[in-house]
């Protein structure tokens, strides 16, 4: 399923956060949205997953206006793993993932054996099946985030939005989560903080700064030292290693001043 944003503008509390952003994620593509803090990445994604309404412009799913769908209908097309998922209660892991079936259910529908097998399959995919009976609140941050990913998988949507899901996670879990997502074969739009992660996993990148698109292309095309300096205001070196992989090394100020380290 193809997701497009066309000339999306968003004004929050009187200040313009997005000033006309076009983005397109084709069928099965993993698209990263990068940009410094406060650039509007998260606002853009929130417009796509309907927490926010674009002030102008619109989001399209396979050419159909997203706003015409009910929340139920859009939740069967787009699943979301967001930044903050701290819940203060005692749901079991399986109960949390079962909530992913909610958009497929009417009030009087029972949870069927099929729902439970979808839930177990999703938990298995993220490697959390053995934790199914555990209380969600007793898990570590990385485990919780994988459970939330399992919930998104249980929604069985063609599209997935990741709103900086790897923030605050150890590097092991960041890679684990992105490996999982990469293997899913769904249309994915993800906000990424870490440019190396973006380079490792994304097919294409969109760079946002001050609410505007400042670049778009494959990681190799986009992530040049000049571009990184322009967008992030830091010096960096981009290394293409012998296997054709991209590595970004940052050069902090103190190195350039010749301070011995």
């Amino acid at each position: 399923m193809k997701i497009e944003s066309k000339a999306v503008e968003c004004i929050l509390n009187g200040s313009p956060i997005l000033k006309g952003v076009d983005l397109e994620a084709g069928e099965g593509e993993l698209v990263g949205v990068i940009g410094p803090n406060g650039s509007g990445k998260s606002t853009l994604l929130k417009c796509i997953y309907r927490i926010l309404q674009p002030t102008k412009g619109a989001i399209y799913l396979d050419g159909d206006l997203l706003g015409q769908y009910s929340y139920r209908e859009s939740a069967r097309r787009i699943a979301v793993v967001a930044q903050h998922n701290y819940y203060n209660f005692d749901f079991s892991v399986r109960e949390v993932v079962l909530m992913g079936r909610a958009p497929h259910k009417r009030a009087l529908d029972r949870d069927t054996a099929e729902d439970y097998s979808i839930v177990d399959e999703a938990l298995d995919t993220v490697g959390m099946l053995k934790f199914a009976e555990r209380s969600f609140s007793t898990l570590s941050g990385g485990e919780q985030q994988r459970v939330i990913l399992a919930r998104a998988l249980a929604q069985q949507t063609p599209c997935l939005i990741l709103d900086e899901p790897t923030n605050h996670l150890d590097i092991k879990y960041q890679l684990q989560l992105m490996d999982l997502v990469r293997g899913l074969n769904r249309t994915v739009i993800t906000a990424v903080h870490d440019l190396n992660i973006a380079a490792m996993y994304c097919d294409r990148l969109y760079a946002v700064k001050n609410g505007k698109l400042v670049g778009c292309g494959s990681p190799r095309e986009l992530l040049t030292p000049e571009f990184i300096r322009r967008v992030y205001e830091v010096d960096a070196q981009v290394i293409d290693d012998e296997t054709g992989r991209l590595h970004i090394l940052f050069h902090p100020h103190i190195w350039q001043q010749g301070v011995a380290r």
Partner: protein, 358 residues
């Protein structure tokens, strides 16, 4: 239901909570049948059952269908027990729902100004003679109107300046609550009706003593309908604990539901208040005990709380009648006396939250 907690043996494959539900249902019947034999006047146990058997199945000696014995069992003891069960059920369910609606474990059925609204209504009826058109039940009726009116006001206030959310509801509830208590106090203060003031005080403490079969019918019908309604809403209630944003990504805009739930709860609480005054702590403690044992999933929580609440209040009513010989304790005092320490115990046992987070 694959993979849920299972019990071995006879009930293999049946989830524990379903089993508990059946047991609680049985416990409720046994409680009602036991409690009806206990009271201030000594009535032989077999006579009590003779009356009930005669009245319900028409079986046995017709002499059990008349006289003082019959009246004591059929018009005094049984209606108040049935009322206690209905109110316990309603208050416990409303407690669960309110805690989800405002996403706060400290909420109880009275939290959003419903109780103060009911008190104001009752005070107006007793001391200012309002609602006299409703006849003999004017106090209860005004209490119901007060409860319902205030919850409408709370929803309206919470919607001013943007969509209502759980925090705004809570704040609006506090504000409405203060205004109502202030007016109630004002009326009590300026009234020169000593007897009326005593009635208000007594009413605020709650009692099943005035139960009639007509009231039972109304309260039970509303409580059962509310219970069934909220049971079908278990997914939305779960989503409420995740917050509005997660809920939208899972396909539900909670905004409207939250207000509907509040109004349905207000109707349930209003009827309870109408029949028996204010009974505290049931709606707070019962949900927490059940949550500690069975987790937060509302699919289990709603029916289990309803049944436990009913059993609890039946026995609380018995205790009210027998604890002090020759007089009857207001049930609201008793539930608070039991409820508060239990609540403190729960708090000290587990880090506070929805039973979660260690």
């Amino acid at each position: 239901m694959g993979g849920q907690n299972k019990k071995e043996g006879l009930f293999r494959g049946t989830p524990v909570w379903v089993l508990t539900m059946v047991l609680l249902l049985a416990a409720l019947f046994v409680s009602l049948l036991t409690a009806v034999t206990i009271g201030s006047t000594d009535i032989p146990i077999e006579d009590v059952y003779h009356v009930i058997l005669y009245k319900i199945f028409g079986a046995g000696d017709p002499s059990y269908g008349e006289g003082n014995l019959f009246r004591a069992v059929w018009y005094l003891r049984l209606p108040r027990l049935v009322l206690a069960a209905g109110i316990g059920m309603g208050l416990a369910v409303c407690g669960v729902v309110m805690q989800a609606v405002v996403k706060n474990p400290l909420a109880d059925p009275y939290v959003l100004g419903i109780s103060s609204g009911a008190s104001l209504g009752a005070t107006l009826a007793i001391l200012a003679g309002a609602g006299a058109v409703f006849g003999g039940n004017s106090i209860g009726f005004m209490a119901f109107l007060g409860a319902f009116g205030v919850s409408l006001l709370v929803v309206t206030l919470a919607n001013m300046g943007g969509r209502a959310n759980s925090v705004k509801l809570l704040l609006a509830g506090m504000a409405a609550s203060s205004v109502c208590s202030a007016f109630s106090n004002f009326i009590v203060y300026t009234a020169h009706d000593r007897e009326g003031i005593q009635t208000v005080t007594y009413w605020m403490m709650g009692s099943m003593a005035g139960a009639t079969w007509e009231q039972d019918g109304a309260v039970l019908a509303v409580a059962l309908m509310g219970l069934l309604f909220f049971w079908t809403q278990h997914r939305n209630l779960n989503l409420m604990l995740l917050g509005d944003e997660s809920a939208i990504t899972l396909g539900t805009d909670l905004h409207r539901w939250r207000q509907l739930y509040l109004l349905v709860s207000a109707a349930m609480v209003g009827f309870a208040v109408y029949a028996a005054g204010m009974i505290g702590f049931v709606g707070l403690v019962v949900p927490h005990v059940v949550r500690m044992l069975f987790g937060t999933d509302h699919k289990k929580l709603i029916p289990l709380c309803a049944l436990s609440g009913a059993v609890f209040l039946v026995w609380a009513d018995v205790a009210c009648r027998v604890l002090i010989e020759g007089t009857e304790l207001p049930i609201g005092i008793l539930t608070s006396m039991i409820g508060a320490p239990v609540f403190i115990y729960l708090m000290s046992r587990k880090k506070y939250g929805f039973g979660g987070g260690d």
